[in-house]
Amino acid sequence: MAFKSFIIRLVALALAATALHACATGEGKSPDEKAEFERNNDPFEIPNRFAFAFNRAVDTIVLRPVAVFYRDLVPAPIQDGTHNVLQNLNEPVTAINEFFQGKPERAGTTLARFVINSTVGVLGIFDVAQSMGLSPTKEDFGQTIGVWGKSEEGGPYLVLPLLGPSNPRDAIGLVVDYFIDPFNIAINHYDLQYLGYIRAGVGAVDGRSRTIQVLDDLERNSLDYYAAIRSAYRQRRAAEIKDENYSPSKGTGMLFAPAPDRDGDIAFTR
């Protein structure tokens, strides 16, 4: 229940951000500075930097050390199995989003993956479907909104406490994904919230353990880590949506075809 009210506050924040955005412009700046300001689309930079510093502290003190420990000391098969279970739990949400995006075939494949891996793959521990030629995809409601609106722009940049980089589109996406997830519905129905917390915690460690190298690299090689993350987040989300906006029937060539979205590689501590 606590999580629910947190989520509701999050939506309120996202909506407020969208409303406020209209008022915030780069006053007293030269035209090219204004253009740069608009490109960054970060009218809440001050609170965002504050949230970013908070997240970074939590990451440095808790998440990253746990993720390093997990990556280096937990046997690889256990890490793979854990990742597969998490991925399997996420398949229904992906399938629903693929359906919303008008890709019933892709949704069918995702559901087939879910059924096969949950049974033959022992509750999702083994990705048996992959070896049968059914590759995983990952779709969220933020992407669905992007596909519906045919736009890669998600609104002003937001750094959410504990959840990381976002924008109103993706924040709303997070909330919708939470509520359409059959597992969350079941958890809330049977009052088993602790299962949700375990899933979120393990998911955070799994995701972070896969981004240690790339984020360390970005941090070391940037002058303003906040700005580098902001740019990388926006580019990546835009590319994920753009891929979906190309229809495979158009045959635009290898790289423009919707590529399966690989989970976790640069997820930015989701």
């Binding site: 740069e36 970005l218 700005a227 740019s231 790289l255």
Partner: protein, 207 residues
């Protein structure tokens, strides 16, 4: 009669021109694609051979990397793009120093990345034209985990040689990210380009 023949051939040439242009453009493009691919292949092979020499001190290795990057990357062009709106405001002296520091910075960044090399392979998949640019698709194959998709963007430099102008790793452009990074750093420091130069100097060891 002779004038007529000239006129006819002229007309033929004019009429044929629209047909000829796409044809030559297509062949030129295919040639560009092959050339771009070989730039990336050659660069990867040279970098790997430097890494495989193993021993040798870090300074020699870095010098070798610097040569490879100078040859394959259009560092002045990338540098100018990355400085963004501040390029026009920079004085001639600032530009010269900035480009020198930027080169060291890029070499340091990539040398560091490459030093973590542990037998990965760069598989070059193909090349395609994108306006004036050529994009080379590749993947870093690792012993563990998913391959990392890397797209190299190449453009011809002043001498007509294709050179890398951007590296897009898992759909994130390095040039774009660096541009946001540098521009933000300057604006955080009250728009001072000198602040950026000082920072780059300290990050690259004052060279």
């Amino acid at each position: 009669m002779r004038l007529n023949a000239i006129l006819v051939s002229l007309m033929l040439a004019v009429c044929a021109a629209p047909l000829a242009v796409p044809f030559t453009a297509a062949t030129a493009r295919a040639a560009d694609a092959d050339q771009a691919k070989s730039v990336i292949d050659g660069m990867a092979q040279r970098a790997i051979s430097v890494l495989k020499q193993g021993q040798g001190d870090k300074a020699t290795r870095d010098a070798q990397f610097r040569d490879i990057f100078r040859e394959s990357f259009d560092i002045p062009r990338i540098g100018q793009f990355v400085l963004g709106i501040y390029w026009r405001r920079a004085s001639e002296e600032q530009r010269v120093e900035y480009l020198k520091l930027f080169e060291s910075f890029i070499v340091k960044t990539y040398a560091e990345r490459l030093s973590q090399y542990s037998g990965e392979k760069l598989q070059v998949d193909g090349a395609r034209a994108n306006g004036e640019k050529t994009l080379v698709d590749s993947a870093v194959l690792r012993s563990q985990g998913q391959p990392i998709r890397i797209v190299w963007e190449l453009e011809k430099d002043g001498a007509g040689k294709p050179k890398v102008t951007d590296v897009i790793i898992e759909r994130v452009s390095m040039s774009q990210t660096q541009r946001s990074d540098f521009n933000s750093y300057i604006s955080q420091n009250g728009g001072s380009i000198d602040a950026l130069l000082t920072k780059l100097r300290s990050m690259t060891g004052g060279k």
